[in-house]
Amino acid sequence: MIFLPAAGGIAAYLLGRVKEEYSRYTAIAVSLAEVLLTLIAFAEVASSGIYSFMLQEDYTWVKGFVDFHLGLDGLGAPLLIIASSLTFLAAYGSSLEIQERKASYYSLLLLFLAASVGVFTSLNLILFYFFWDATLLPMFFFIGIWGGPNRKYAASKFLLFTYGGSVAMLLGFIILYFSVPSPSFDFISLMNQQVQPSIQLLVSLLTFIGFGVKLPVFPIHTWLPDAHVEAPTPISVLLAGLLLKLGGYGILRFNLQLFSYTAIHYALFFMAVGLVTMFYGAIVALRQSDMKRMVALTSINHMGFVLFGAFAGIAVAGSAAFGIAGSIFQMFNHAFAIGLMFTLTGVVKHTFNTRDMTVIKGMRFAMPRASIILILGALAAMAAPLYSSFLSEFMVIYSGILYSSWLWIAVLVPGITAAYMLWMLKRMVLSERDPALSYSDVSRSFAFYMFLFLVPLVILLVAPGLILSPVMTFVRSVSGGA
């Protein structure tokens, strides 16, 4: 599964040297094949019904230290689907904006997918770190080469922030290695060993820095708005939909599952960080005029839910089914909802040559198809009950209330989100006709492409069990069968 996109990446570059368009076709074909592979793997995990690492592969990599150990469980499986399908959508949607150096672009896209799949399946800490950092370089070049006017600053800021987080994480891993009775970097072996609470707390905090930068949590989030605003649209989709999920995955896998003692005893700290991040993202988004910056901040706000829900779920017995499951579900929903919003931002920028929400008027006259999709997408982002994002936010907030009744204030966050989303619609779509605008709608096929983002969200509202049943095996294992 890792090998396919990695090999595809090299193939895409070589074919792209022959003819530029070939690299795009390769990227689409390979990522589509990867979607099928991940769906099969997901079905395998889902059908087992018990919690374990499935499809394990284990090769000696560096004798005695690092094994090439892969495996998949109820946490990794849904995220794998996000990885492959968003890469597919991004590759398909790239033709609009990516005009130069296509061969390099599409091959980096597939290499990025390979590294992300590696992160979601690694069962060895060093292997995990290896893939984790391997995602940075493609993203650095995506933003820096194909990005907007301020791209160089944004790319460097992104790289230095995330790498700074990574080294803290690596230090944590090395300390952990020596603080267990039989030193090992293997995840399963570490799960079965006891660590002193104080060391666990230290390691948990160090790794939290690494994951928190990517999630991102307040106050180490500042790279994100810059990176998003400068990144080209398909890369924003991947950045929000996939890269942030790497952070969420890391937090659930390590801070929650591996360092469970710290997770239970210091849950309040993590919840507080999550809550602050939620409010911060929502309130700052409220006063943006740049549509893309607003969407980027919505990402911060939504990812705060992931952190909040996960630790609310572990802190209260019995609420794990809501909190932890809700936070994984939230990652899944957010990936598609925000992916669509970023794509729409790209369309708006392409058509109006600006993303300033105070300037754009009367979209419903100029682009009726795009307007409908925008309304549908905004509803998904504000977690309207039309979509599964409603379910996941509800689950997270409910688990918060189970923890402490005053946490009802978390409800304000979707409220604020709905407020600014509706305000955006009012300003851009439902406003007076702008006489300067001529009819310039997106094509039917592109509207259909954008609609694809919403399909999973609608299906999962009706049948959330498709995702939640394997997720629940993970939840039960973490929360001790509650």
Partner: protein, 478 residues
Amino acid sequence: MLLIILTLALPAILLPLYGAVKKENGKERLSAYVAIASLLIALLEAPFELFLGPKGIWYYPTSLVSFDLISFFFSVTIIIVSLMAAVGSITTMQSDRNASVYYSLILFTVIGMILVSSTTDLLFLLVSWELMTVPTFVLVALKKRDRLSSEAAMKYFLAAALSAALILFGLSLAYGLTDSTSFYSLIYAFEHSSQSQLPVFLLTASLLASGFAVKMAIAPFHFWLPDALQGTFPQIGALLAAGSKKAGFAAALRIFVALLTTQQFIAFGLSWQLALGIVAAITITWGNLAALTQKKVSRMLAYSSIAQAGYITIGLAVQGTAGAALGIVGLLLHVLFHGVMKGSAFISIANMDDDVGLLNGLYKRSPGTALGFTISLFALAGMPPLNGFWSKLFLFVAAVQANMTWLAAIALVNSAIALAYYSYLAKRVYFEQPEQQSVQKEEKLDVLLVLAFAAIFIIITGLFPAPVLNPILSFLGL
């Protein structure tokens, strides 16, 4: 051992003769091919020498040299780096009258480095040390009409003279103490010394250590390196930064680890590990911070190689503790990997401008050089999936195992600082648009060949480090 030396020495002696007798110009390439061929043969011979020689990493015979795992690793590194330098200078030197001397000097300094990394005798060490150093004075000064080159050679000469003088003084003290010049008898005498002799032993050790440190460019003995590397050919810069700087580590590893882990010394109660750890931390931080502000690629790389010397020092600082074995793994690995990536980063300067500002948009002018250069930069930063990640990982793990978590933390923070200037260069190369005054430089094919080799080596050993690691691990019995 003898085989390798002969393979290199014969052409080294014959090449200048050839250069003197040949009449017509334009035959300069031949000397390059001869030098490259002999280096390649020497590289192939190295494994045989290793398996014929004694097993284990520490071995103190009564002979002058011993070809063990340490010498093997350093020799292979040195030969690979000098191969890169030799191949990378074919085009640069093809119309130079002194080409045959140039290659002959490279071969001589390689012989010197191999001997330094395998000698077990102080006097022989000094002789090999000079054999390693003297040819490089000439190489640095080769552009004799260039002011910078002469200045570089002068500074380098003074620093090297200082280093040799320190070693010589240490050597004479050692001889006075032990009536012998071999490492083995020095360590033996130290183990059985009386309390009153200890200060003299300490003085001997610190004189030798300072002598090596100048060559290794460890803070505070690093000042000469950036000037020397800026003034000379990039190929020679590669040889100095990636090759001869390393030889000092081999000698230090061989003498000090055994000396400082003797019972006598432990009873003395000096925590030299802490001292070395602090030196390592200062060197890493100093090198990286200084590199941040440089305007020349060569100076930036020179400071980065000072920082990398600090990383290698971590491997020395953990000796005598629980992290000793992993420290050696990391040290040897980093010597080899860093040799290749620093070598390729330096040699790529031959295909571009040394000025950081003129790097803008390099990918358009010289795509091959840009790619090779960027790969070696990120390898130097220790980014996976490139090989620098593994050697640094082992050094960090060793530091934590030696209970020096603070050192690992400082080194890791420095990795992030270092990434700032490496990515700054990569940003110039890929993100900026070329400026008007940057001249189109032709990409030299030989340099591209070197870069391609280095890039493949960096990626392959990054993805599959086992082939390089397993021999070390099995020698250490891990």
